[in-house]
């Protein structure tokens, strides 16, 4: 017996539409054939469900109709939601008064503490000029596709990682020692440097000094050949107000030149470790050198004032000396590091100066 026939039979059976003979035959079949019997039970249950469903649906429709009809006749009325605001007000008048008082006192307290602590919290107002490279990943990838040699050299980056922070660094010793900002490399597990020709070098952190925001890193890559004597020098004393300055850095994948002047001998909040310069700088310029017209490094760009145009701060170059001294005390392998003290760039055209300097300025990419 096919299922569809059972279905029909069960329906007629339940409805009592079977003749007496048919009924006897059907009941006999159920007794002798357990499969049919099982089907009948199943069908009956399903059939009942369907019946209930029908009734339920019909009843729902009826309720709906009745509701609308009674509404039309005006036998029932739809009430508008009760406005309970006034009632709540009466109920919670005192609570609200207390809450208001507390809010008032809290506001005053916060206002006072904010004004008390503002000087200490003001770092929030300056922005470190390293930048988040994750945003740049797509761009850098398209550039890689544009130039063939870059495509090959990108392989030095750790596999399956993207650089997290980008900044600038520059050589302080031709043997491969660089200065950059501490905030560029302090989280790095590996560092890749990129020079203006697009060559990549691996580097490691030698020393981090968060107080001055300076870090010394060393190139450790067999592809790197010592540059020998650096063209520029590092100045022990500060620059004069109004001195012409220029910078080189990597706010993007290409080296970028900018120029300006010495604005103030002190930095943010009269910090004597830094100075203020009037040179445009963007995220990525962090750790970049600031030169005077003679090609002497007078500072290292590290922050800028947010919300103000052209207010950039640089760590003064004399900090490089003190940081290096610290390093020499704890790491004897750096004994031979010598800071360049004589600039060979005096009286040269700016373009000539840049040509000589740009090989010593690197893009610093931190991975972690």
């Amino acid at each position: 017996m096919e299922e569809i026939q059972v279905l029909e039979a069960v329906e007629r059976y339940i409805r009592g539409e079977m003749s007496r003979e048919e009924m006897t035959f059907f009941e006999e079949l159920r007794k002798t054939n357990p499969e049919v019997d099982q089907l009948v039970v199943e069908q009956t249950m399903f059939y009942n469900q369907l019946g209930n469903f029908g009734e339920w649906k019909n009843f729902k429709t009826a309720l709906h109709d009745v509701h609308n009809q009674l509404l039309e006749r005006g036998d029932i009325k739809e009430e508008a939601p009760k406005a309970i605001v006034r009632e709540l007000w009466r109920k919670y008048k005192r609570v609200m008064a207390v809450a208001a008082t507390i809010a008032g006192v809290t506001t005053l307290l916060i206002a006072t503490s904010v004004s008390l602590y503002t000087s200490k919290q003001s770092d929030a107002k300056i922005q470190q000029l390293s930048y988040d490279l994750r945003r740049e990943v797509k761009n850098s990838k398209t550039e890689v596709l544009n130039t063939v040699d870059q495509k090959i050299k990108i392989s030095k980056a750790p596999e399956n990682t993207t650089p997290k922070i980008g900044g600038t660094g520059f050589l302080i010793d031709g043997k491969g020692y660089l200065i950059t900002n501490a905030h560029v490399v302090n989280k790095a597990t590996s560092i890749i440097l990129l020079n203006s020709k697009g060559q990549e070098f691996r580097a490691k952190v030698i020393h981090i000094n968060t107080e001055s925001d300076l870090a010394i890193i060393k190139i450790e890559d067999e592809d790197y050949k010592s540059i020998g004597t650096l063209p520029y020098s590092i100045r022990k004393t500060g620059a004069e107000l109004g001195e012409q300055l220029f910078t080189l850095g990597y706010p993007r994948n290409e080296i970028v030149y900018n120029e300006g002047y010495m604005s103030s001998k002190t930095g943010f909040k009269d910090d004597s470790m830094t100075c203020q310069i009037g040179v445009p700088a963007n995220p990525g310029n962090s750790g970049g050198p600031v030169f005077n017209k003679n090609g002497e490094v007078i500072g290292i760009i590290n922050t800028r004032l947010t919300g103000a145009d052209g207010v950039v701060f640089a760590v003064t170059s004399k900090n490089i000396f003190s940081v290096l001294e610290d390093v020499k005390k704890e790491d004897t392998s750096t004994k031979h590091v010598k800071l360049p003290l004589i600039s060979s760039l005096k009286n040269l055209e700016r373009t000539q100066q840049i040509k000589k300097i740009e090989d010593c300025v690197f893009m610093v990419k931190s991975y972690y």
């Binding site: 299922e3 569809i4 279905l7 029909e8 069908q43 399903f46 469900q49 369907l50 019946g51 209930n52 469903f53 029908g54 009734e55 339920w56 649906k57 019909n58 009843f59 729902k60 009826a62 309720l63 709906h64 009745v66 509701h67 009809q69 009674l70 036998d75 029932i76 009325k77 739809e78 009430e79 508008a80 939601p81 009760k82």
Partner: protein
């Protein structure tokens, strides 16, 4: 005393009417008690739409009970409906995670939890059927609804749907029913 007895017999008659899908009974109960339930809900964070939903669900609970034949009205119909609606509304508020007010008891209440549990279970099954119906597709859905819900006879259905004769329509109906059954039992097994 006489009036009480009379009203009780009236209410029993109403419930019997309900069980037989008597529209007059539905109307009478609706007219008598809707206002009370609406006040309960409006006074407790609800709207008139909520009131309508809740009251109609309570009516379905009552309908199911009346159908089961075992229903003995141990209290006034008013108290029963009020208790059911109050319970349903509290549950709804909980589901919506709204602020639950202390429902001001305007009326006395009786325990109705068992009835509502049964109602929930039935509701679950009915929803399975509804879901199965919805996923059945046309013309099967309309065909089955016409026969099992609107109780039209096969000749009429054949005419409406454009079948050449009642036997063809009947055959098609059984095929649809088979599909519905499969859908329903899949749903049924998933839920349990």
């Amino acid at each position: 005393m006489v009036t009480t007895v009379k009203s009780i017999t009236n209410e029993i008659a109403l419930i019997e009417g309900l069980a037989q899908n008597d529209r007059q009974a539905i109307e009478t109960i609706y007219k008598q008690h809707y206002g009370m339930v609406q006040s309960l809900i409006i006074n407790n964070n609800g709207t008139s739409d909520d009131a309508r939903d809740i009251f109609q669900e309570a009516m379905i609970v009552l309908y199911e009970k009346s159908k089961s034949g075992s229903f003995e009205l141990t209290s006034q119909l008013k108290t029963y409906l009020y208790s059911v609606c109050r319970r349903l509304w509290l549950k709804r508020l909980q589901q919506q995670q709204k602020f639950i007010p202390e429902l001001n008891n305007l009326e006395e209440t009786i325990p109705v939890e068992d009835d509502l549990d049964q109602h929930d279970q039935r509701g679950g099954e009915l929803q399975m059927m509804e879901k199965a119906m919805m996923s059945l597709g046309e013309p099967c859905k309309s065909l089955l609804e016409a026969y099992y819900l609107q109780k039209k006879n096969m000749t009429e259905i054949a005419g409406n749907f454009g079948y050449t004769n009642a036997d063809n329509a009947k055959n098609q109906k059984y095929k649809c029913l088979m599909r519905l059954k499969k859908l329903f039992f899949t749903e049924y097994k998933n839920k349990r």
